[in-house]
């Protein structure tokens, strides 16, 4: 009996952890990032981990709106990178973001993708309004979804696509997805004829399963990607390290290779109000 009590006390002592034993140097940074950033960020993280001993970057990729909701509910994060300034402003309103650290680090543009297996042979933007075409978009709360609607409005305002173009296209939508990668997935699977995603998604897609319909610059929408630090992050230095890396020459070149547009060094910093 006494031995058992001793064993129990030993376990408690070791379990409390703060027993004075030296810990290995390991710093973890938790990054919540928009789904469209997954490819580029994984690569940036690998580069950083290779050169900084003990730095470990953990990711949570989700729709930006989902990230804002998680922040609201107290999810542990150190850095956030979203796909729109509107969503960053919403994140700041949760009170967890250090608003002085908001910086835009990349831009993206929209792409219209068409499934190679589609029997509808959609070839031009106006074909999106063809009755019966199956189109998939991101939901209205997702940045990509909002940008897509803005794009359709621009097309309609130009007058080059017929009256009620936006309405006709929206009539063809069969599903509003929770993040832009899910849109890509459904078109790649061939279950939908077309979808509106980011340039970066089109670029990362399997070229055998999808084709891209080019969007003239005057109709396209530019997406701004801001990064920010979370106020209650437990390792501010490492979090800052990651955020700075995004705007560094190496980080920017990785982003560019994935299809993002870089931020000129002289671009004025956008700070959320």
């Amino acid at each position: 009996m006494p031995f058992r009590i001793l064993l129990l006390m030993l376990c408690i002592l070791l379990g409390t952890g703060e027993s004075g034993l030296p810990r290995p140097q390991s710093r973890e940074v938790i990054v919540y990032a928009a789904a469209s950033l997954s490819g580029a960020f994984q690569e940036i993280a690998n580069e950083l981990a290779a050169e900084s001993q003990g730095l470990h970057i953990a990711f949570n990729f989700a729709g930006s709106q989902e990230i804002v909701r998680q922040l609201e509910q107290g999810a542990p994060a150190d850095v956030i990178a979203l796909a729109s300034m509107d969503h960053m402003r919403a994140a700041v309103r949760t009170g967890r973001v250090d608003s002085s650290t908001v910086r835009i680090f990349a831009h993206n543009m929209l792409a219209v993708i068409v499934s190679s297996e589609s029997s509808r042979h959609l070839a031009t933007l106006s074909d999106l309004a063809t009755p019966g075409a199956r189109i998939v978009l991101a939901g209205p709360a997702v940045p990509a979804g909002r940008y897509a609607v803005q794009f359709l409005e621009k097309c309609e305002e130009s007058g080059k696509f017929g009256r009620n173009f936006k309405q006709h296209v929206l009539k063809n939508v069969v599903s509003y997805e929770e993040n832009v990668r899910a849109v890509l997935g459904k078109v790649e699977l061939g279950e939908c004829d077309a979808g509106i995603v980011y340039e970066t998604d089109a670029k990362s897609a399997d070229s055998a399963s999808i084709r891209e319909i080019p969007i003239p610059v005057e109709f396209n929408v530019t997406a701004d990607y801001p990064v920010a630090l979370i106020g209650d992050a437990h390792d501010h230095m490492s979090a800052l390290h990651f955020a700075i890396e995004l705007r560094s020459a190496r980080g920017q070149s990785i982003l560019q290779r994935h299809g993002f547009m870089t931020v000129p060094a002289s671009e004025p910093d956008e700070t959320a109000h």
Binding site: G63, Q65, E66, V68, R69, E72, E117, S119, R134, V136, G139, P140, A141, V142, V173, V174, S175, Y176, E177, E178, K186, L189, G190, E191, C192
Partner: protein
């Protein structure tokens, strides 16, 4: 019921109840507390006026109609299957039995993918469906199919057990008295197995009501057409958290009411003098 030496016996069993009650307390609290928390957070005087909002009303009516249809179809097609599994020995019975357990164990998203690979445009049955000018994915049919796939095994298992538990001698006695097989089934077998059948049907309905993963993959998310309550709640999180809370509470109240009514009817039939 009192024993001759009643006093001693009752106090002994009372003493046994208290530790058992204490041991049950954690799980009782664990189930009750979150439900109570939801009611407290989400309740507002105007909650029932939200029932008439178009998106909410559509989600509710879609959930109710699809789950009812699913339950009816499950009972219709599941009962013969349960009879077969409970009465007949045939090669591969164990395999079939195990296969029926699979949809319950599989992650719903996997179920959704499987359905897409079968009934989708590019699925196994795709060409056949296209020839028949039918599209299943992203329709209400898909909603019902998704619910059927994940929830019907619950009824089949319960019904199989229920039928197996019916005393064959009673059926044989009825047949000897001149009852036709149909009469034996409806007048002897079913009434005896009814608690299991009803319990199984309720579980099917409940599982179908909460179905999300397979639905969003196979049927997509489109308000009014395929956006059931769980989808509306999930997507609603991202637009307006308080709206999601309201929907969640409504779903909770509807489920609770239906379960209460069904259980009440069941008890009335079997336990009232």
């Amino acid at each position: 019921m009192e024993l001759k030496n009643g006093t001693a016996a009752t106090s002994k069993s009372e003493r046994r109840v208290i530790p058992i009650a204490l041991a049950s307390l954690p799980i009782v609290l664990f189930i009750v507390l979150p439900l109570t928390a939801l009611v407290i957070r989400a309740w507002s005087p105007g909650i029932f006026t939200r029932l008439v909002e178009p998106d909410v009303a559509r989600a509710i009516s879609l959930s109710i109609t699809t789950t009812l249809l699913t339950t009816v179809l499950t009972v219709l097609f599941g009962t013969p299957a349960a009879l077969l599994l409970s009465r007949r020995r045939f090669p591969g019975r164990k395999l079939l039995d195990t296969l029926f357990d699979l949809p319950v164990v599989l992650p719903p998203a996997v179920a959704g993918l499987a359905l897409l690979m079968t009934f989708g445009r590019r699925g196994i049955l795709g060409p056949l469906l296209t020839d028949m000018n039918t599209e299943i994915a992203f329709t209400q049919t898909a909603v019902v199919l998704a619910q059927l796939f994940v929830s019907s095994p619950l009824y089949i298992r319960a019904a199989t057990a229920g039928f197996a538990a019916v005393d064959r001698e009673l059926e044989q006695a009825a047949a000897l008295d001149g009852a036709s097989p149909t009469n034996v089934f409806w007048k002897v077998t079913v009434p005896l197995a009814l608690p299991s059948l009803t319990g199984g049907a309720v579980m099917t309905w409940a599982r179908a009501l909460g179905e999300f993963g397979a639905t969003i993959l196979f049927a997509g998310n489109f308000p009014g057409r395929t956006q059931t309550m769980p989808l509306a709640i999930y997507m609603g999180f991202e637009v307006d958290f308080s709206s999601a809370l309201t929907l969640a509470l409504l779903l909770l109240l509807i489920s609770f009411t239906v379960l209460l009514v069904v259980k009440g009817l069941l008890h009335q039939r079997y336990f009232s003098p």
